[in-house]
Assembly symmetry: C2
Homo-oligomer: 690 residues x 2
């Protein structure tokens, strides 16, 4: 057979090694093809899945390799075939920082031989030659192995050779698979560490996972303006006053206290009450108009106190088990020192003036935006980074970042890595109310938590759809939502018009739908609901532009209710993470029903909310017991952690009635009957990402 | 403001250029992050979509760059914002082969200036400074521009400067946007070719699309055994006999005639009729037991004729407008020349024998598999490649590859590129009935078409689900299904028991659900349905192991019906491609209803099938008119291309009745009423991949 003339050399280069028969695809979690790290929490087990297969009928072996970024040696974990060429493996995220991981697979001749031997024996075939071939394979492995392992493998080689010529064994080869020999079971564990992996397939590059601390996943935020904490109305509050407020906040169960900017406020074009463009003498201005003669982003507003006072405040919070989160808003009042020191960081107009923040037809004349297209961008990035490092030096580890979507993405990508290199426990919350792809991209480049559109999702279907989006593949791997029912900028129509039941419902939803949530505290506790004008989401007489004085002990406040909800969050693991949410049907669509369960935890929470703030609503709700790991259970107990009731429910629909005048929500814990409840669903090994 | 001690140098390197503000994500189509090319058909327009966005409120510009692989210069097409940061652009696939493409985006100061100017004018603001800034921007562009463009831009610079000081213009700036000035409309097209793209974002690497010829997408295959074409029963047919069969096949409307292997058949362990392990003298053996003393994969079975006879056969097919597809089965009878010439290409056992193809407890003793782990793999790959090149030298451009999933993936990946380098019009059909990820991977590495599980999908829900899988993202971009109701290995239970109506239904489904389909012809035409034994999908007295003689003019054959279906396929563009399929509801679940429509084509096909082969079924079917681009249409005509009837249907349910004894299917064309029907849905610009 002479090759035809067209044969000759190859037009297409061959691979260096053509015998890498295993293919590895679809490694998960993976963000944008590995452009960004996936996210984990320290102490968690991290599960990696992949499609791994080869040609033909041979058996393959697969391993998950992982190491801390910077380590030289890879550690190795087994991978298990879940079926249909889909494999899973896992390792523990023991430390903060970044881990690298990759998947390796190879066609294994000994694993294949074991599997085929079993099938030939079962089929009653002559296995003499099979046993001899096994001896050859194990002899090669013994040559690679060291010490005892090599000797043990050679022992099996001799046995295989003997059996291959032993008429008794060949007549009844089943004995090889049974006690006491158990050939294949005995050989594999001995052999596998010495498998020949020279034709092993590894993807071209490793993937990574960033390990954050627990608070990145589970946190309860309370926002307040320290300048409004003076005991005396009309007097600018201080850090010392603010420290007085801390025990109440701790008693309510919050673990992050978040302060709007604490820096000097500009005088030029200072805003007056209710965002008036003209201010009167004595008006405090907006804390977001940062910078004055006293300093900029690393200075403390003199009326609040000194840097030492701030540190005392932070220490007091920490004594009480809370952390202080600062607001980082990269914009400058015309009086900010940077305007003189670094004029090139701002965009100048043809008349020499600096361009205000503007988005036609709107202009914000009390602030200058920073120009990320400046030729001096490297010094600018360092300068902005130094703001964070300054406050980290003061012990602050959590930051709420104002409008990050109006600053360049490459800056954030660099900055967050830079900050995590200084302290892998630092946490940044992104306040970007913008188009979804930009919100998600900020999370991809590193933000730990993100504000969301929760405030404007009211009905059951809206909320279910929104949760589905946030939990979808390509979002859940990096985006940690932080749900706020209100902020100083957001007094929703629902809160304006829904009365006390609306506040209760929105609190329960924010606190149970996701593990991170927060409230703009004093106004929420006091059910503040009057907008600046009709159609506005701004508060009337907002603290943003004037001092306020709050009587937080006012009868009818929500304080005790908030404390109860936070206690339920602390005591129930499913509410401390975002996976394992499921919506259930009800015959009354104003009743929103969802459950949360956590892998490796027996706890199951069922939340039922009456989204009608005016009227009593009742109906039959039909929990998907199978999804809750309660398949086949006839009766079970539910315990209302909010109101204290205990009910015996049975499979099928159960009746619920919620009076908004009393309490518009149940937060049930399902209490296991003596028997019939296994572990909660979603245990990682059985519920892969795919 | 002195930086804190912790500042100093960066731990994280900064990018070389920090001002690339645009981010580009999710470029589609893209297979496994660009590891494999997407697929297109020559003459098509190729649409590329991406998420493109930047920080802030500035406007961005985006371009699609593309070139033929190997070309130096990139061509450029505009990209259009569809909304929500999602963009689309397109270019024509003018030639066979590979095109590279990438997406580029930048924040554009002039586009932004135009947009802001319009909004400032609308808001009644003083635009004097805006006009001056526009002059500065356009002056810079003029500096980059050449010749006339530069002069024209400078003309606008002067105008802008003049207007910025012209009280009349500043008092009534709307004139700038109106005739005859139309400032922004006039400036942009002049400016954009000279935009400053030095801070432009391009992804790290380009993606690619492989352009195949039309027959890769739309083909009708007819398989037959040339050895069964002799006019005399019991006599081995020749290529000359087979050529006699061609006009009939052409008249039935097929365009590919596919022959099982035409090579010498081995003698060692030759199989007898009905796959008996012992053959009698004179038994012809299986054509898939390739190779004997007369030669191997590049030889012709002497009883079929000579290589010249084969060429004459191929030429006759081409005269009739058909192509010949050959079967490539890389396995060797023990008598194949390679066994002696290249013993190292086979796996030897410890006793020196070559290992048969086996998968315990099955053994195939008439063939040896090829060992892709041979040390001689490079020569092996060349040798296998040369088989294809040999037949390509004989003018064959289509191959059906037998069991590619039992040969190493890296080989196929290399081979197919190699073959396409020799002839970019070559087409390979993968015959891999295996787990989905392996089937799909073969398509990824380059197979043009693939066998599927269609033969075993019978009911409406099964078929709808299967079509959804085949059309899902991550499959449709590279996998072109080829539906076969039967093959020499597959006589399904449905065909065994369903009688003539089952054959008609399965033909209509195969021929209309997908654009590529085929039949194992003579048995299908003659409604052959007797299995070798009960529970088997093998034909009794299969041609695989013995000569058969077919009386194709036998009364009751399906020949005319097949011809009618193929004519309908040729005359209706929606049946020549796989996108645009949609299932519609019916109140009788035995009636399966689906429609096909094609982008840029007004044609719409509606297929209704009675999946009950015994009884008349009728019911109301409810076409989704909006999905068909017929929203708001009250009445329309449907024309049954199969039976010839014409009906006037109206919006809402319409009645259908199908008698399996007459014809169990309708293939309707919707005939547009005089007015009210626009273009078909799915026009690319308005229906993106995402």
């Amino acid at each position: 057979m002479s090759p035809p003339s067209s044969s000759s050399a190859s037009a297409t280069p061959k691979p260096k090694e053509g015998r890498l028969r295993v293919r590895i695809e679809n490694i998960q979690p993976q963000i944008d093809g590995g452009s960004f790290p996936a996210r984990g929490i320290v102490g968690d087990r991290f599960h990696v899945e992949a499609d791994i297969f080869a040609d033909g009928h041979d058996r393959i072996e697969a391993r998950l390799l992982y190491r801390r970024l910077g380590a030289r040696r890879w550690s190795e974990a087994p991978m298990e075939l879940l079926g249909n060429d889909h494999w899973v493996g896992s390792f523990d995220l023991e430390e903060l920082g970044v881990y690298q991981f990759m998947v390796e697979g190879w066609v294994d001749p000994v694993t294949t031989w074991c599997s085929e031997l079993e099938r030939w024996i079962e089929a009653g075939a002559d296995i003499s030659l099979e046993l001899q071939e096994g001896a050859v394979l194990l002899e090669r492995a013994a040559g690679r192995a060291k010490g005892d392992a090599s000797r043990e493998l050679m022992g099996w080689v001799e046995k295989l050779k003997g059996w291959s010529q032993d008429p008794a064994v060949l007549a009844d080869p089943e004995v090889l698979l049974q006690d006491p020999i158990r050939l294949t079971e005995a050989v594999l564990p001995l052999y596998l560490p010495w498998a020949d992996r020279s034709w092993s397939t590894r993807p071209r590059r490793s993937l990574s996972v960033r390990v954050d601390r627990e608070r990145a996943r589970f946190s309860s935020w309370y926002e307040f303006f320290p300048r409004s904490t003076s005991a005396e109305a009309g007097v600018h509050g201080t850090f010392a006053d603010a420290a007085q407020a801390l025990p109440r906040i701790r008693d309510m169960g919050f673990d992050v206290v978040y302060l709007p900017p604490i820096h000097p406020v500009g005088h030029t074009n200072r805003k007056g009450p209710n965002n008036r463009v003209v201010s009167a003498p004595g008006d405090p201005g907006s804390p977001w108009a940062i910078g004055g003669p006293e300093g900029g982003h690393t200075a403390v507003h003199p009326d609040l106190g000194t840097l030492d006072d701030f540190r005392s405040f932070r220490e007091r919070a920490e004594e009480l088990g809370m952390e202080v989160a600062l607001d980082v808003a990269f914009q400058c009042s015309p009086d900010h020192p940077w305007v003189k020191e670094h004029p090139q960081w701002f965009r100048h107009r043809t008349d020499g003036s600096i361009r205000y923040a503007e988005n036609p037809p709107k202009k914000y004349e009390d602030i200058y935006p920073i120009d990320f297209e400046t030729d001096d961008w490297e010094a600018l990035w360092d300068g902005l980074r130094d703001v964070f490092l300054f406050w980290m030096d003061q012990g602050v580890r959590i930051f709420r970042v104002d409008n990050p979507h109006t600053k360049a993405f490459p800056f954030w990508e660099w900055l967050i890595q830079e900050l995590l290199a200084a302290d892998p426990g630092v946490i940044l919350l992104s306040e970007a109310f913008t188009r979804p792809r930009r919100m998600y991209h900020l999370a991809k480049v590193g933000f730990h938590q993100s504000y969301t559109y929760f405030a404007w999702r009211d009905t059951g279907p809206e909320l279910a759809e929104y949760m589905r989006e946030l939990q979808s593949q390509g979002v859940r791997e990096f985006f940690r939502p932080n749900f706020w029912p209100n902020t100083p900028d957001i007094l929703t129509e629902t809160l304006q018009t829904g009365g006390r039941p609306a506040f209760m419902v929105r609190l329960v939803l924010a606190a149970t739908l996701t593990a991170n949530y927060g409230i703009y505290g004093p106004t929420f506790e006091l059910l503040e609901h009057i907008p600046r004008e009709e159609g506005s989401e701004e508060y009337l007489d907002s603290e943003k532009y004037q001092l306020r004085s709050w009587d937080l002990d006012r009868p009818g406040n929500l304080t005790e209710f908030i404390a109860r909800v936070n206690r339920i969050r602390r005591e129930n693991a499913p509410l401390q993470r975002n996976d394992g949410i499921r919506f259930h049907p009800s015959d009354n669509e104003t009743l929103l029903v969802f459950s949360k369960s956590a892998p490796e935890v027996e706890d199951r929470i069922v939340v039922v909310v009456n989204t009608d703030h005016r009227f009593v609503q009742s109906g039959w709700i039909d929990l998907d017991l199978a999804a809750l790991g309660l398949e086949g259970v006839g009766e079970y107990q539910v315990h209302d952690l909010l109101a204290g009731g205990r009910y015996t429910w049975s499979a099928g629909p159960n009746f619920v009635r919620l009076d908004p005048g009393v309490c518009p929500a149940h937060i049930f814990r399902i209490e296991a009957p003596a028997t019939g409840i296994g572990t909660a669903p979603g245990a990682p090994a059985s519920e892969p990402h795919a």
